[in-house]
């Protein structure tokens, strides 16, 4: 019977932990024994049959969990820009606040989170430029961040901004809302 590596690695925490504990316990015992006693132990004869122990199966399966919280947007008083980023220049009406994105996975750094398709809906003026920014990244039509070596993306601020060349470069009266698509992949 061959060894199924995936099966052999399933649920690694418990068996590994148990093994580690057993090794630590053995090491601790050995370090406290007098030298002569250690020597006598090495000479001891085995009595009875040996007995193997099993640790069952473990299964590693890639996973990713995305977590988000909504932000809010405001509009520049000259109506030229709608954004969630209070760091933008100008005076704004509304409460500007970042959304957040976080991820937990077991992908190590092969995984990544991507934000696409920043979209402004509502109102009567369509945006002609839609951009997104994650963390300290730059503005772009999409944003992509690699997961860290633990496979995680810490809670990261996410901003959007929209401008228009319609209606004399100004957003007309109306209620606007912004959205985006956040995806997690094993790269």
């Amino acid at each position: 019977m061959g060894i199924d590596l995936r099966a052999a690695l399933t649920l690694p925490h418990r068996p590994f932990l148990a093994t580690t504990r057993a090794l630590l316990a053995a090491a601790a015992m050995a370090s406290t024994l007098p030298l002569a006693e250690s020597w006598r132990g090495a000479e001891a004869a085995q009595v009875g049959a040996s007995q193997s122990v099993n640790f069952g199966q473990a299964l590693i399966s890639s996973s990713c969990t995305l977590s988000t919280s909504d932000g809010s947007i405001g509009v520049r008083t000259n109506r030229s820009l709608i954004t969630s980023d209070s760091g933008e220049t100008g005076n704004f009406n509304g409460n500007l606040a970042a959304a957040t994105v976080a991820a937990v996975s077991n992908l190590t750094s092969s995984g990544f989170v991507r934000v696409d398709n920043p979209t402004l809906t509502g109102g009567s003026t369509a945006a002609t430029s839609s951009q997104v920014r994650m963390g300290s990244g730059s503005w772009d039509t999409s944003a992509q961040v690699n997961l860290d070596t633990e496979g995680s993306l810490p809670i990261t601020p996410l901003h959007v901004r929209f401008s228009t060349t319609n209606d004399n470069n100004r957003f007309a009266n109306g209620t606007y809302s912004a959205s985006a698509t956040v995806s997690c992949y094993d790269g």
Partner: protein, 155 residues
């Protein structure tokens, strides 16, 4: 211990593993909406997906098939899903729409019907202002579900 471990079915073990991984995320941001999926690589033409909702709110999910596109030299899912009729020729899923309560998980069996296609199978959840997608990749060239002996196919 051994008997207990070996008695766990694959979906149960998946849920346990995924659940352990989610504790930190939910704990760090209790107000957040969240959604998880496993595995992210479909290695077998038949198997199960595990979908989970570690958040404190009920969420609606759908499983959709997306073409593979390249962005910044990495593969990702197109923004628009395939038409359901086309998707159903590539992979069978039952169900493809579901609702998960707070803390709930569910396994969804799948069967790849056309292994010559590259695609992403993404769990999609509209949450607040976001569309969340966690995407599992099927790579072409893997054997179809129908060609495998029963004892080699995952449940």
């Amino acid at each position: 211990m051994t008997a207990t471990s070996t008695a766990l079915t694959t979906p149960m073990r998946l849920m346990l593993g995924l659940g352990l991984g989610l504790i930190g995320l939910v704990g760090s941001s209790p107000a957040a909406l969240a959604f998880g999926q496993s595995p992210l690589r479909l290695e077998q033409p038949r198997g199960v997906l595990l979908l989970s909702n570690p958040s404190s709110r009920s969420i609606a999910l759908s499983l959709q098939v997306f073409a593979v596109v390249q962005h910044h030299a990495r593969s990702s899912a197109a923004l628009t899903p395939l038409e359901p009729e086309q998707a159903e020729r590539w992979i069978r899923l039952r169900p493809s729409r579901l609702r998960l309560g707070p803390g709930a998980s569910r396994t969804i069996p799948y069967s790849v019907l056309d292994p010559t296609r590259d695609f992403f199978l993404c769990g999609v959840s509209e949450q607040g202002l976001f569309t969340l997608r966690v995407c599992s990749r099927w790579r072409s060239g893997q054997p179809p579900a129908a060609s495998l002996p029963v004892d080699q196919a995952s449940p």
